[in-house]
Symmetry: C7
Subunit: 103 residues, 7 copies
């Protein structure tokens, strides 16, 4: 499923964001191809969709600082893995985002 | 019991919602039918009923963003399993909902 | 002791409620009667008495949404078991109530 | 030491209360007297003295709902055991009181 | 070092208090003198010095309810043991004090 | 990648900062060169980039006290290790910074 | 490095303070010199430098009650050990300080 399609079909709740890990080509260490299961999962991703923001105790909503298409870094154990139409995504709270990469 | 009936007979409290897992047909991997107990439970569900909302410290109630009939995604260990008239449902807080799927 | 009597002799404190589990007849699975100790305790109950409500930091009291005689669902490990005049009851906070069943 | 004496010689701090367990006669199950150490400690008690109440963040004090001489129920592991003049008492916070028994 | 001296040389910070355990004579159970290491430490103490009080989020300071020379009761594991000039004291927060004994 | 480049390509989120550990030359203890894996990682670092600050519940943003180019000390287990263009950095919250070294 | 130098070169962040343990001469118990590793570390220290204070949610800063040169007591496991120019210091939050010794 194309990213555009997922972005229009899934809306993260509140301060959550939908992220696709940025997969690199297979890593080569010392000439040996490391198969997929032994590789560490990348901690870089692309934001696909964002929630409407976090509410305070008076019901006021604050939009997120992270936007769709941002390239972000996150911690190894951040987010919940979820499959949408067979493709793996991460859903995490904005607070789990470490920062934004500009290209 | 029909969904409509459950929705009229059970009212989740405060910011809780009643969810029915969306069961898919039996999964086939490599031609072998995987029996029910070995399958992972789906993390997708349909909202059947919602509570009236969360109160702040002054007693003001904020209605939920999630509505009945929404298709939602949630984490593997979200919610409390409960049987109503012999059918299994999940009751969870709105905060455990990861996002809403539009069809 | 009749329910009415318990309700007049015991007042739960603050946001607590007194609940009697709704016991069903002995369950039969595949023709074998399951004795009492092997049965899961029911997660359905009847509210017998309710506290006056929860106070905020300014001392304002908010009455509970749950009322005496409501049929409620609650989690497996909710509440504190307590005997009043030899009969078993549960005392739980309103926040542990998952929702209300209408009949 | 008489209860009246303890009540005048010990003042629980803030939202704490001083409780004496209500000891019943030795329990008989199936004709066998159960010695004291095998009995569960009763979860019922009499309030002997109460603190002046809980303060909020502005220093305003809210008196307790529980009063001296109230018969209360509490959880199995509630409170701190303490000896005053050789007699055992429990000191607990009002929030640990499950409810009040009227006689 | 005399108590008066300690009180003038040590000032507990904020809502902390300096306490000296009230040691009783050696306990005798069934005619056997129990040496010091086998005895439970007493949960009674004398307040030697108190901090200036607890501040709220606006910087307002609320003096403590416990005063120097008060006889107090506290939980078995309350406070931090500390030596001042070779003598053992406890430093605890006022919230750890269970109540005050009047003599 | 030069520090200046990283600083312009990565923006830490909210109250987070990007830190590069200050690596010292190999340590010599008693004449024996300690190889890299046995050395404790330094707890000193240089701030490369800082987030825009922490928001309070009304959405007001407070800039950080720590600035880019500050030399800081931090705890052994502070921060999340992350690679940017093959170089190792730490991302931590400002609250994890112990203090600032002036040179 | 002299204390004065450290105080001018290191500024603890917010409500943190820089502390040097007050080392006593080697302790002698029963005529046996106890070597350094077997000795308990002293819980007494001298404040070398203090942060500018703690901020509340509106950004207002409250200066610390502890000042440089104060002799303080702290708990056994308080603070983070850190080396500045080869000398060991502790960095702790003011809340970990038990009290101040006047001499």
């Amino acid at each position: 499923m194309a990213t555009a399609t997922v972005a229009t079909t899934f809306t993260p709740l509140h301060d959550r964001i939908l992220v696709r890990r940025v997969e690199e080509g297979e890593t080569v260490r010392g000439g040996i191809i490391i198969p997929d299961s032994a590789k560490e999962k990348p901690q870089e991703g692309e934001v696909i969709a964002v929630g409407k923001g976090k509410s305070n105790d008076e019901g006021k909503v604050f939009p997120l600082d992270v936007k769709a298409k941002d390239r972000i870094l996150f911690g190894k154990y951040s987010g919940t893995e979820i499959k949408i139409d067979g493709e793996e995504f991460l859903i995490m709270r904005e607070e789990e985002v470490l920062g934004i990469l500009k290209s």
